[in-house]
Symmetry: D2
Subunit: 297 residues, 4 copies
């Protein structure tokens, strides 16, 4: 199968369940909302060694937000409920409450599951907090140096998806990178998903465990490493491929992750020098969700 | 004393000792270096609830870097040596190694103290790593999807400074914010310092402990909260002040933090609506470093 | 009348007819499309001394564009048909054709009026041009250094609107500026409009003609100048106002300009320190379009 | 000769004389200075069909500027003295005076030649202007809506250089583009030069005159067009080259342009997929300045 003239391998991405909270950060303007969103979602590429997986989802127009200001949705993902709550408290408390002109609202107001993050953060006001309603939401005003920080009492979360993915094989490193960037930007307008890696892109693929250094849980996937192609008998790197980039997609639903995968592949295959698109899986035995690439088109 | 017509209070900032590692991230261009630098320094405003204090320091010209590519210096700060090493491993391993086109070098090549971060990260190569020299530095090449990730064997650290600070009192919230932003941008060109909070700015000031909610280690400093000025007998907020912003400055030396404080105050006092500059301290009894504001000018 | 607690003066904006062409620029990603869009719309604030009025309108999703790539709509405005055609030729020929990875399509495919800009630009190919269809549009491929530049044969234009406007009166200059910026960003998501001044904001208001220097067609409107308030008997500046900013809005229809005015005022009045919103007119005798502020809400 | 492993052709760039004015724009912060600088230098790629060649040169630190604020140097270039003065008046008057928080100073205070642009712009104040000294410079304060616009009486210009250049031949379009971008960013730190094309990059090369459409002064250089390589007998495109990008460099001196050429080539040759660097000339008979590529290294 070809999309925009590029071969799409007949395979599937294997994705996993994860708990996903969604926070709506508003501010004076998109720039200030992004400052807080960026800090709050940093150091959040993979739960292997980061305290959470996190990313900026998409813009929220002033007409969509409880306080009528512009903002961004962010997602914080964690394998455990307890870990997710801790991360929400720390990331909102240290990176949004401290940021200029921001407010934090529930990004999943219809979710059944929620944490009372705002209720817990209001104790920072040391008795000077005030309950108030903003756009019909129960919120707290926390007096501080710049004025009042507004935070919604509850933040919702759902059983979402982690590790949706596809791989871009390219003739040159810049071709692969330009394709990956185009894919990330296209996915930024898809509702409900994030691409948690730096700039949305993964430059390093890993396999579970190790051949040589058995003390490691994950090591480079040598079959996908172009620079040592000649040393690996069962390399997966075609002769004309000099670089591979992966997009990892998390989201609040499998449908959102599928849509992002499709939109991302459509964008990546527009860039010259892309040789092939494929996806990563573990034979379908580990992951909760399988995304067949061909079925997307 | 007045600077640019703005009163500078006769007081001092009280700063603390902290261990500071400095990493030089290079990439194709400044944009890609910043992508990795941003991810690696996120969730890093304050060690109160973040796993580290971290920030982007300044640009490194191609002519200054071991591999002749453009880059950014970042700083990672932690109270303990062990904690600092863990954070370096996790943040470089998850946010720089995974990022497109980056390499990571020692940002303090003359420091006596160092961690063998590169040596530890090379195990990810599962036996395919190669030692090489880049610009006279001992490095490792780790084969992965996009090609080889280059990382220097050692990353240096020093006994640095945390919590340098000054406060901007302003007639309106936007005045204070514009002043704080101007200060942050001026400080970005000072060698050796970071402003670890979101966008470099702190919107929330805290006091040690609590009056009401004794179970908290830090709560809002109600004396610096303009919105409850009328309820606080010993408020420090003048009648014409509607907002206060703080800049927190960490650095590799007290001289660098002093220079940043000076440059930041000069910039902030250029903005209309700034009423007063002051600084935060604990009476001089807790911190290792005292920075007298008047002595800066 | 008050909006978000801010007084909206009972007055109207007086706008004028102008010819508006709309071009869709696509590229590898939004960043490269914006590079071309920015160059092509520069030096385009006001036809008083600029060769055109021009601005970036809004993002075009890959799914909306003829070539399936991301892009931006731009508008080029001129009082005369001849002048508009010249500006389109020069700005697309020098600032889009020359820019990396771009293509230029008709941004008003349903407009009756059009210029055959693509047909004229194809002569640059010196005989090597090729006609082709992209997304059902008649286009030309112009071979050049980076590959082929694709340009649609026709670019549409309509009788649009120039000079929609509102004014923000603020307690401090940074308050007014933050409000103006918030308004500009809110307007960026409105279909069919641009804010042609630098960053979308006008810092200088003018009156027709002059009192003293009669050789000038337009001079500062001293009644709206806060710094000389005490010298002007009939000043329009209230005592607590230190700065005024204007937003000028052009668009392809009066309805789009009205929507932008509304959205902009809603955003501006969210910022602390905004005292009043008003609009500029010439008594309703000169302009083709009157926009009553109160009727917007 | 090879630089970073890439062949540098033994040839020279042929550059021309042009008049170059340099303006220093300061503002609240670098972002606002850049807003004005971008508008003022737009529609300024080539004097073939743009009213000027123009670009942003580099940042000016607060400590370097007359008013102690951050800023950017811009350059405006024109073949004639009269044309240059007109462009300065129009671009400063319409794109800097109108922009928020900006001031405009002489960027070449030691130049013998100067235009009294500030003197002429002050008439906009209609009698309310005031002379003042800023950092030892004779300036005018023009009262307007946001407050006073400060502009220096004189703006200097010199006999500078236009059309310094080099070409990047690349295996894929994204490789060439990544190399061109890296070169532009490296050149941004060189004192005294601009790269006037969109994003600093030229995607279309031209030859003087035409083979087929004789009514045109300049047409595509078919010998440098990869997509029609097979149709051109004396093509200059090697078999493995899919895209060529050019950097055009203007500057206030030939030494500055040479330094930029060197720095740019060093940066471009770091990017994978770059095959060759060469330069454009007319046999050395037309241009005032010849820049031999090999002599740079």
């Amino acid at each position: 199968m070809k999309v925009n003239g590029v071969e799409i391998e007949d395979t599937f991405a294997e994705a996993f369940g994860i708990k996903v909270a969604r926070v709506l950060i508003t501010a004076y303007d998109y720039d200030w909302a992004k400052v807080a969103a960026t800090e709050a979602t940093g150091f959040g590429t993979s739960v292997i060694m980061c305290p959470a997986e996190a990313g900026i989802e998409k813009k929220a127009l002033p007409s969509e937000t409880p306080d009528g200001r512009p903002g961004y949705y962010i997602q914080i993902c964690h394998m455990s409920k307890k870990g997710l709550e801790e991360q929400l408290l720390a990331r909102i408390g240290q990176c949004v409450l401290t940021a200029p002109t921001t407010a934090a609202f529930n990004g999943l107001p219809d979710a059944e599951n929620k944490f009372d993050i705002g209720f817990k953060l209001k104790f920072f006001a040391d008795g000077y907090e005030k309950e108030l309603e903003v756009g019909g939401r129960k919120c707290w005003a926390v007096p501080m140096m710049e004025g009042d920080f507004i935070v919604e009492n509850d933040i919702g979360y759902v059983d979402g998806v982690a590790g949706g993915n596809f791989f871009i094989f390219a003739e040159t490193q810049p071709s692969g990178l330009a394709a990956a960037k185009a894919a990330v930007q296209a996915i930024e307008d898809v509702e409900g998903v994030i691409t948690p890696f730096p700039g949305g892109i993964v430059a390093s693929g890993s396999k579970v465990g190790a051949n040589k250094y058995k003390f490691l849980k994950a090591t480079t996937n040598e079959k996908f490493a172009p620079s040592i192609r000649d040393q690996i008998e069962d390399t997966q790197i075609p002769e004309n491929v000099k670089a591979v980039y992966e997009l990892v997609i998390n989201g609040i639903s499998i449908d959102a992750v599928k849509e992002a995968t499709k939109v991302g592949i459509l964008a990546a295959t527009k860039i010259p020098g892309v040789v092939k698109i494929t996806a990563g899986n573990y034979g379908g035995k580990l992951g909760q969700h399988l995304i067949n690439l061909h079925e997307l088109f």
